[in-house]
Symmetry: C2
Amino acid sequence: MNCIDCTFKSSATKFLSKGEIEELSHNCAHVEFKKGEKIFKESSFSSNIIYLKSGLVKVHILGPKNEQITKITKASAFLGLPTTFNEKVNKYSATALENCKVCFIDLEVFKHFIYKNGVFAYQIITELCKNEIDSFFRCLNRTQKQITGRVADALLFFYHDIYEEKEFILPLTREEFGNYIDTTRESVSRIINDFQKDGIIKIKNKKIKILKEERLINISEKG
Amino acid sequence: MNCIDCTFKSSATKFLSKGEIEELSHNCAHVEFKKGEKIFKESSFSSNIIYLKSGLVKVHILGPKNEQITKITKASAFLGLPTTFNEKVNKYSATALENCKVCFIDLEVFKHFIYKNGVFAYQIITELCKNEIDSFFRCLNRTQKQITGRVADALLFFYHDIYEEKEFILPLTREEFGNYIDTTRESVSRIINDFQKDGIIKIKNKKIKILKEERLINISEKG
DNA sequence: TATTTAATGTGATTTATATCACATTAAAAT
DNA sequence: ATTTTAATGTGATATAAATCACATTAAATA
């Protein structure tokens, strides 16, 4: 497989020279993961940068009490950056929520690109900055909104940021949904069923249709 | 003021060439802030990278319910990166908890260093990666530990990461302490007084002495 | 030094949400 | 198709922590 022909290039990789792309091709392993498979695991050794070419992934950490889904990431994005640059051991896990295509890029080669290609480095920095800000706000919402608001938030997130359609198949179990918004499966269950009773959404198992977006936005804002 | 003689250089800045340091000197404003002063403000415009040379700072965001102290940062560190690289508007505020020395570095010059100096860029990337991981774990603790554990955590943080002494002057009011660990001033008050009753710490207003570190570690781990 | 203002302490009460317990349904495996 | 297992729904109860209310103390200001 040659990276030149890859149609899933990251915003950073687009700025690599032909020679660099060639170098990348020789130091990049393409792997496919099925829904539910672990891409990498907390506490395991890693010396690769992991790039999600297509699919949907949950990034999760085992906390003092429960598993927490730190974020849900849609392609294309780098998954393993924060882990790999500081430590050889992964600080979190990533699991495929849909079938995924992933590249494992050799760390030294990636580092070399940063050293030699400033535009590439700048793109990476931009992505990391965005991640940090997003992470601040996710935490803020997790700690300061009531569950109803957090459920509304999550539904809007799937609509706006992931599927871009009012009707979608929720890629999480109720329990995972709980892990994503820091609550229990019971509370998630109760609240989405309340939403249905109020005509805000329609649910059939994992299939969800958003009927009244404004109400969800309102609930999300009121906390 | 010339940056060559500056004794507060960041790990990244150490890798700048003489010419680059010269360029930095002409595009860097040194400012001092007194305890309590705002260094920059959420929603205000910014086109500078902000570098904390000395002192202690709280980074905070106004959430849907309360002010949240996102993190407490000791010199030396960059304060304004995640904000400035993506948006022209600050997404959070920073306030001096002690008297601080700060540099405002022109964004374009900083960007130029990233483009031209790969080692500099790599250092910045490393710092950002570390920030993201830290931010994940802070959020995990905030959401999954009970207040007692979070208070213990915070006290150990001031001991280990900030003052490196068992006795220190808490740089926060009880209310700010609450904002830092997502609780109310009343709860903070109750718990640190309980800790005192149990002989774990000694408090006199803002002066705190850690008497039984192991107990605090234990409380922190039990959640 | 006196006076005002801000910060802190502490009990009583309320509340959001976790936990527990069990029924029901869907999905997977045989 | 049948059985087993996993996921979901829903009421009753428990609980950590917020909120309220007011007293006390420290710090700032006149």
